[in-house]
């Protein structure tokens, strides 16, 4: 039982970070019908930037988020303008897979040249500090990473729910033709939305490197995980994505505890196949158009 509770706590903490990583994918898919398979590499990019700021300038990885987010936001806008916008709407959904995969491999290659394929890890002084709560040990960095994810997700949620830009995004997701008729510039929403979607992933990446060792190829594992989460969450539903991410974190932790850490890597595979057989529309039964 102790083991079980410990695993669930770890899983919840990891799931919160997964939720931040995956919500950007959902956002981009909702707005543009683009499945951005470069999302994993954006996380790794965030991890490397944060790693570099820490090892060269002693910047705390949680502070480096303030630098990573705007930089990757701009990169995301550029990727949208250069690689995604030229695709014709009718073929965008399919071709964007290829295009963003090419972007992912390109960035992976550059990271390999700069940092080699050695595994890295950002290790601040408190990296191994733990809290004991009721006999359970929790690493402080994991709690901080979880807290940061919750804060960023909450900000994203408020922006979507309460601001003019948020209404434009939701409108574009729910009925693009109608949004355009009311004067929403779909291209602007797409560029900013894509920038936001990768910037949030990179923010997660900045702290991911503190918790987990990574190298340029780590994005393969991450993108499989994230794709499973958004399919599970019902493609295009943000609440669905969050729940699926937490579910994923917890099942991984349980498998790692009771069977083996390697089997945990297969979690996404097992969950994905299970879900596709039982509920092909995902846990939250998303309809044709999202409900962001």
């Amino acid at each position: 039982m102790r083991l079980f509770v410990q695993a669930v706590i770890l899983g919840l903490l990891a799931g919160g970070v997964y939720a931040l990583m995956a919500s950007g994918l959902t956002l981009a898919f909702g707005i543009m019908r683009v499945i951005n398979v470069a999302q994993g590499v954006m996380i790794i990019l965030g991890a490397y930037v944060s790693y570099t700021l820490f090892t060269h300038f002693g910047v705390d990885p949680f502070l480096s988020v303030l630098f990573v987010v705007p930089v990757v936001f701009v990169l995301g806008v550029v990727i949208e303008l250069v690689f995604i916008r030229p695709l014709r709407p009718s073929e965008r959904e399919e071709l964007s897979l290829l295009v963003t995969w090419a972007v992912a491999l390109g960035i992976e290659g550059v990271l390999g040249l700069v940092y080699s394929t050695t595994y890295r890890s950002t290790i601040p002084s408190y990296a191994n500090a733990a809290w004991r709560i009721g006999g359970f040990a929790v690493l402080q960095v994991q709690v901080y990473a979880f807290g940061l994810s919750v804060v960023i997700l909450a900000v994203l949620g408020v922006v979507l729910a309460k601001t003019r830009f948020g209404r434009a995004v939701r409108g574009t997701v729910q009925n693009p033709a109608s949004a355009a008729l009311l004067g929403v510039d779909e291209r602007k929403v797409a560029a900013i939305g894509f920038g936001l979607s990768v910037a949030t992933a990179a923010a997660a990446g900045a702290v991911y490197g503190v918790v987990t060792p990574f190298n340029p190829g780590s994005h393969y594992d991450l993108i499989s995980l994230l794709l499973t989460i958004i399919v599970l969450g019902g493609m295009g539903s943000l609440p669905g994505t969050v729940v699926a991410a937490v579910l994923m974190g917890v099942s991984q932790a349980l498998l790692a505890t009771y069977i083996s850490p390697t089997s945990a890597k297969l979690t996404f595979f097992i969950l994905l196949i299970g879900i596709l057989v039982v509920r092909p529309q995902g846990l939250f039964g998303a309809v044709e158009r999202g409900k962001l």
Partner: protein, 245 residues
Amino acid sequence: MDVVLSIRGLFAGYDRGDILRGVDLDVERGGVTCVIGPNGAGKSTVLKVVSGLLRPRAGDVALDGERISGRSARQILDHGVVHVPQERSLFPSMSVWDNVLMGGYVLSRAALRRRIDEIVSRFPIVRERRRERAGSLSGGEQKLVEIARAMILEPRVVLMDEPSMGLDPKARRVVFATIRQLNDAGATVLLVEQNARSGLEIAGRGAVMETGAVRLEGVARDLLDNPEVARLYLGSAARSLGDRG
């Protein structure tokens, strides 16, 4: 006749071929102009060209003498032409209130606040159902919210594409009465309707479209009394009774 919107020699279509083949139509300022005609005649296509969703291959659309054809949908919106399309156009998972706010997307914050007060007083449904998801409203209620949303911008011309489509007779009457009221309050409406009789009855002028062109144009009353229009579009007694609910 004081013409606010004038369409001349319009040719337009989609991927292949022209759907519109020389459309001429005038919209009277402050009036309701009702376009009727069979399915596929090109009625919606005319509205799409006017609102800038579709670029014409030839011809002109002028608003108070200024050419607006060929401009972007956003520019045409800024000129005060608002399009309520044939399909349902609310954002189904947004609240009624957020939907109406979206109608004023192009307005400044101050202008939006001012306009929304007026809309709320004119369309009580916006206040009564403000927190509900737009998609949970009935078809008739959704149409009223769509019309309310369109009026936020105080449009010079409202394009309404078959607002009564798919509604039960009671909801239809409410929609037609609402259009009447808007018009009494000064709005100019270009209305496309399958319920030809109901449409022409609230209109000052009417036009009949067939295969991409306007075949007949004139005072709505005269079209209602025209035996050929009656035979082709006003249907049998039973159907017109159905139309009127």
